[in-house]
Each structure stands twice: as C-alpha cells, then as structure tokens.
Amino acid sequence: MLSPDFVILTAVGYVGLLFLLAYVSDARAKRGNAGFLSSPAIYTLSISVYCTSWTFYGAVGTAARNGLEFMAIYMGPTLVFVGWWFLLRKLIRIAHSQHITSIADFLSSRFGKSSRLAVLITLIAVVSITPYIALQLKAITTSIQTVSVAKGDGTGHLAMLDEVTLALAVAIGMAVFTILFGTRNVDAREHHPGVVAAIAFEAVVKLLALVAVGMFVIFGVSDGISDIYARAVEAGVRIHEREPFGSRWVAVLFLSACAVICLPRQFQITVVENSNEDHLRTAAWAFPSYMLVMCLFTMPIALYGLSTMPSGSNPDMFVLTLPMVTGHDALALFAFIGGFSSATSMIIVASIALSIMVSNHIVVPLALRAVPLGEETGERDIARLLLRSRRISIAGMLLLGFLYFWLTQDSDALAPIGLISFGGVAQFLPAMLAALYWRRATMNGALAGISVGFVVWAWTLFLPSFASVSPSMAELVANGPWGISALRPEGLFGMKGMDPLVHSVFWSLLANISTLLCVSVATSQNALERIQASLFVDVFRRSASLRPRIIRGSASTSELFFVAERVLGWQRAGALFDSAGVPHRQGNASQGVSANFIARLERELAGSIGSASAHILLTKAVAGDSTSLEEMMQMADETQQAIEYSHALELKSQELHSTAQQLKEANGLLQDLHRQKDDFLSQVSHELRTPMTSIRSFAEILREPEDLTSAQRVRFIGTIHNESVRLTRLLDEILDLSALEHGERNWENVPVDAEEILEQAIAVCEALAKKRLVLIENGARAGDCLVLADTGRLSQVFINIIANAISHNDSENPVVHISSRVTLDEYIVEISDNGPGIPPQYHNKIFEKFVRADPDTMRDSQGLGLGLNISHKIVGKLNGRLELTRGALPGVCFRITLPVWREAEPTLTALEGVQVNT
C-alpha cells in the first residue's frame, strides 16, 4: 500500500518534471532550434491527447460493462486519420492559409467571419467540455484514492482529504500549471511548442504504463491470452458480446470520429499546432497504431479483473487495483502516473483551447466594446488583456469542471460522461463538412443547425446526466416536462427501445443537418460569406486557377460579333471571324460557335482590353448572365498571381542586369590583367633581345676570319661575357619575381638580426662603390634588432637598394647615406643618395615592373627595372613597407620599415627551448 502523501507528492513531482520539459522545449523553440520538437513523431504523440484518463481507466470499465464497444471509440478516429487525404488535409491547409486559431474561429471565418457563430460555438464547446474536464478530475481523485487506500492508521495529513477537497486541489493545481504553461505569452499563431512537447512526453508515459500493466496481467499473473479467456469462461464471465453489434456501435464509432475532428483540444493539436502539413502523412498511420497498442490490453485486463476481483469492485480502476492486489505497488504507481498523464494532458490542452476561444471570441470583444480603443491603448495593453482573459478563462474552465464534478459525484460510471461530451461537439460536424465541401452553406444555416442540434443534445443527453443529482430532475427524465411523455428526454415523440446515446445522436443530428440544409437553401450569402466560402471550399484549386477557363454556353455569332466589333473594330473583327470560317453577317448569324473560337476571341479581346475585362465581356455575351462572385474572385486571384509573376520577372531581370554588370567588371579586370601580361612579355622580350643583339653581333664578328687586333678580340669577348651575365641575371630576376608572385615554398621567416644583415649587405656593395668612386656614409645605427625575416631575402632587398643608390648616382662627389633606428615596434632603415633623384611623375610607379626613372644612366648598371619591384614584394611579405621618402641627402631616399620581433613573444621562448634541448 502506498501512502496518500507519497502518491500525491509523486504526482506533484511529475508535474514539475513536465513543467521543466515544457520550459526547455519552449526555450529551444524560441531560439529557432525546434529540430526534433517539430518532427512528425512529436506531432503524432501529441495527437494522442485524444486518449484521456477516460480511455486509460474507462476503457477497461467499458470493456467490463459493454464488451467491445470501447474499440469503437478508437476506431472512429482511426477511420478519420486513414482518410486524412480528404478531410484533415483540407482542414490543415485552410487553417494555415487562413490563420485559424480554433474551431470556433474556423467556422466563424468560413461563414462570413460571423462573431455570433463564434460565440455560439465557444459556448457549446464550454458546455460540452465541462463534463469532460469533470471526468478527468474524477479520474485523478478516484485513482489517488484507489492507489493509496489508507489502512486507517491515519498516516500522513493528506489522508484526511475527502474526495471533493482532493478534486478541488487537483483543479487548482491544474489551473496554475496550465496558466503557467499555456499563457506564458500570446503567440499569433497559437503555437505552444512547450505544451506540445510535454503532451508528447505524457503520451509516451501513458502508453508505457498501460503496456506495462497489460504485460503484467497477461504474462505476469496469467499464462498468456488463452489462459485469461479460459479463466474468464470458468468464472462465468461472458467473453462474447452480449448483444449483436448494432446501432450503438455505429453511433459510438460515428461520435468518436466526430470527436477527433471537432473536440476543441483535438482541433488545437491536430490543426492549429501543426507546423507542417506533411506530418499528417505520418500521423495518418502512426496515430491509429498508437491507439491500437493502447487498445491491445484492455480486454485482457477487463476479463482478468472480472474473473479474479471480488464482485462489486470498480472495473474502471482495474488498471490500478490488479497490480495492487498482487502487491506490485511500484507497478500500480506507474499505472497511476500513466492515468495521471492522460488526465493532465487532456486538462491542459482542453483548457488552453477553450481559453483561446473564450478570450478571443467573448472576453476581448466585450472588453474592447466596454473600453473603446483610444490612442493610448497600445499593442502591449491588448496583449496584456489577452493574457489576463486567457488566465481567467482557464481558471473558469477548471472551476466549471469542478462544479460539474461536485454536482454529479454520486454517478459512478465514467464512460457516459465522455460520450456526452462527444455528442455535444458532434453538433459541429455538419457545419464543418458544409464549410469544407458545400459552397452554398450559409451562416444562418450553420448557426441554426448548430443551435437546434445543441438544444436537442442538451435535452436528450446532457440533461439526463443530472438525473441522479435531484429527484425533480429524475422525475423530468422519467416522465417528461409537465408529464408530456412525447418530450421525454430519452424518448422523444414516444420513441422507445432505443439506447439513450443512439436516441440523442439520431435526433440531434437529424435536427441539426436538416436545419442546416433548409436554412442554407432558404437564405443567401452576403459578399464576405461568398468570398470565404470560395477560399475554404476551393483551397486546393486556388493555385491552379491560372489554367485557362473555357467559357461554355451558347451564343449566337451575331452577339459575339457585336462584342468583337465594339472592341476590335469592324475590320479586325471581320477578319478574325472570316479567318475562323465563322459567318457574321446578318441573316446567317445564329449558328453555334466552338469553344475554341470563343477562347481565341477572348485572347484577341484580352490583347486590347485586358484579360479580366475580356472574360467579363465574353461571359456576358456567352452565358447571358452577369459574372458570378466566384469568377470575380478567381479573376482577382489570377490578376494577383500575374502581378506576382511579373514582379518575379522584374526581379529576375534586375538580377540578370546586375550579373551582367559584374561580368562586365570582371571582364574589364581580366582585360587589364591581359594587357599587363602583354606589356610584361613585351618588356621581357625587349630586355632579352638587347643583350642578345650585341652577343650575336660580336660573335659573328669574331667568327669571320678577318684580322682583329688582340686588344679588340679581348674587348669583344669581354663584352659578350658581360652581356651573357646580364642575360643570366635578367632570367634570374624574372624567375625570382615569378616565385614571389606565386608564393615561394622554401620561405621561412625566423627571428634574425636585421642590423647584422644590413652590415653584410653594405660590405657586399663596398666593391661596387669603390669601382664607382661612391662614398658610403654610415649614419646613426640601431644596434642589435631582431625582425622576423628570411635572411637571404632581406639581404637581397638591402643590396638591391644600396646598389641602386650607388649606380644611379652621377653627381660630382657621389655619396650614399645609410642609417637605421628602432622605434617602439618598428625597425627602420633609410638609404639615401645625393644623385639626381626621381622625377615626381615616377614616384607612384617606381615600384612597378620595368619602370626606370632614369634610363640613360642605367646603361651599364645592373638594374633591369625589376629590382625595386622584387624588393617591394619581399618587404611586403615581411609585413613591412618599402617607401620613397625624403632623407638626409638631396637625392633619392628609400625607407624600409619592418616590425620588430620582441623577445617576450612565446614563439621565441619555444625556439630558445628547442635550441637548449638540441
């Protein structure tokens, strides 16, 4: 035995777990990270909110009392889901396209956005669902009491609670829970990912719990299925149906099929919370499968309970009592949690769905009417109003449920209450089907049909459920009002021998449907109703409306010609008719014309006056009546699509234009590059041909057998040699440049002493300077300074620039001045000369290939126009800069700036570490 304290605390803990789950899911969904949460599996599981505690506990009770009838409650929805392609798919498509938030919204929107209809449906839903919520409260309290049957030792103060107090506590708890979950914010699309996740979780829990109990009964305490049936036969339990399947079976099948569409909570979960129409494809078989598994163990549990439990035990609680009597408290607790799951999930979703309807269709319109929206009433106030009204509605729903429970607590059968609710919401079905498939159904028809059906239902099914509450009610049910037996709730017009449920379903739906049909035919739709009707009924056809519609009908050729002449003029119209072989002159003008010709004429007319007008004109001429609203709608739709289409085309052409622009730019760039390449090749060609010319020339001179002086011979050979060297150097430089431009492989930057490299470069140039009689003047020096560089490359830069300075200097007393310094984080070398300088027009181009500022002084110098370009590239690769600047001397001054390598940097420490180790 479990103590009530423990059971209740377990339930509270479970609710806490649900809250956590919902909170996390909400947070994930808000971050747009829904992932698994928006999968068809979660969708299917959440639909199983259909299986409430009524099916969890009550199915066994129904099976025990009425045999296989419980299966009809599951098979009705199965039929609806396997037929998803026709009804549910259309429902979801419409709900998505029309932004539907509830079943009341759906029907009112279809019937001209009628608020009267919305209010009516909301009220009916509240009245129908209240018993259902009461049923859940009853299930929870009964199950708590059952699973924690106190031994009378009074342990735990919660044991003192009686049934009503317990139910009130559960109602309050559920209200708080639902308010916390369902109204945390108002989502425009009424999506509650957190709630859906919690419901899906509960669906798994209740399935597992029922399967666990079922397996326990079949294999734990019995010896398989046949053992259970054998034992039932032995105990005298009827295993066959007491009565043949008949009208009650059909009625229950029908009601449950209605319920899975029309129950506000099912509509909420299946239609409103649906995020992807394609999920329905999975739910179509997965949800029936879920119910099949739920159903599998009902009969064995019922039979086993009937054959083993003492007579008088409540079959509704067999799921709990069977494990308990065998001492399996843990299993009983699990079963209790399963039942608790099914009850809470129903209460949560039903009260959310109803609160949306109540607040959207009743509270908010009233509030807005009472306090007219002024300038100062902002969006936030409305959101707050909505939230508040939702919360109050939820609390109100649970209060009503509790009151119903309190009033009917003496009636102990759970199942009838469920079917009463089903009967109530089934009144929506005729209007619903009409909304989906019957264009002519009017708002008045729907309103009247639902009202009449509801009244009949309330009289024949709802009222009798109060029979046990008071004697006067029992008297009324038994004998009819004022003794008029023709109005007896369970035997209208003296109908006898009928099951009360079948009786009620028959009369209420008969009245409902016939009223709907008659009133719809008798009344007419207003414009908005027509528009909405067309939007709903033709939801799948709208996108296909661009297909040409051929106008059918009969028109005399003279009428057509009259129309054509007015638009096209006599000549063109005549030519058109003649070319088609259609006579148009008076006298022979009244023969029929083909639809193709009419279509062709329409195209011609459309060319002049636009397709919509052409269609109207021809429709008038052909059919003889004015254009119907649907056609206007269709045309408007078509125009809209045409506009969108042309807009899309425009976008495309803009896109093309910008692509063309980009291609043009890219092409320009390519052409530039191509020209640069040509220039470069041309330059290279020139640079190669020049030394080649003198080499060839002197070689030919030397080859001829004429006498040359030996001095000449030596001189010519020397020239050939020098020019060969020049050629080699040129080739080297070109390869060097190519390597630099394409990224060199063996280039490794390591910390090196820049000052030392500068010293070595100066030493190398010393010889050249001496030959040219140039004085190298050392200015201020930086002292040791580490930079990150490749020694060879850095040396190349220094030598190149110093050599340039030496060889370009043609002043009287040529001087090259070299100085270096270190700033905070840069090492700077300046190499200046007192040469002629570089003319200003070359300053920008000096680092380009083959640019020589002073070609005439370069004749025998080693620079070929590539040196500075190479140096510039190298320095760039060292993250430094090579610039032309003003220096100590009047001529050219090149400044090389390199970032200093600080010892503190970790790489250097690592490097030192390596050096120490090796």
């Binding site: 394609d278 078989w285 959101a383 996108s543």
Partner: protein
C-alpha cells in the same frame, strides 16, 4: 517565382481514387452486419473471433495507410510561399492577437 502547381488532371483524380480506398473499406468492414458474422465463434487460443476480426480490420486499415503515405503522389509539402503570404490574422480575431 510564385509556384504554380498545375498537376495533371488524370494523376490527381487517380490520387483521390486511391486515397478513398482505405477509409471506404475501413467503414464497410466495421459495419454491424459484417461484425455480427463472427458472433459467438471462437478462434484458437480461446479468443473470440470478433475480437480478432476487429484487430484484423484495424491492422489492415493501418497497413493501407502506411502504403498510401509512402506513395510518391501523396507527398506534397505545404506550399510555404502561399502559407507565408497568407500569414495575416483573419479579421475575426481580436486586433491584439497578431
């Protein structure tokens, strides 16, 4: 580009015809005259035949739904473009709902 699905008429009609099979047979097979054929009969394992029949019909219907849902012609994604385009609250909603 606005999507303009213009499915072949024949294909669509065929689709409807196939889709109607499962619910039709489901309803027919669950009607009392057929159910009552098995009244009082016992199948192996002592289970009444009508129970087996009901579960059999149920399984059959589910299998049919599975087969249908796998057929290519029933796969159609929600036309998102249309959905977005119509994402406006209907005027029956209170103004603050959006």
């Amino acid at each position: 580009m606005p999507d303009r699905p213009t499915p072949l008429k024949g294909e669509q009609a065929g689709r409807e015809d196939v889709a109607v099979l499962v619910p039709f047979f489901g309803i027919v097979l669950l009607m009392p005259p057929l159910l009552n054929l098995f009244e009082g009969l016992r199948a192996p394992f002592g289970v009444p035949l009508e129970v087996l029949y009901l579960f059999g019909v149920w399984l059959l219907v589910i299998a049919g739904a599975v087969l249908l849902s796998r057929r290519k012609q029933f796969r159609e994604t929600t036309p998102i473009a249309m959905q977005e385009k119509n994402m406006r609250p209907s005027s029956a909603d209170p103004p603050g709902d959006a």
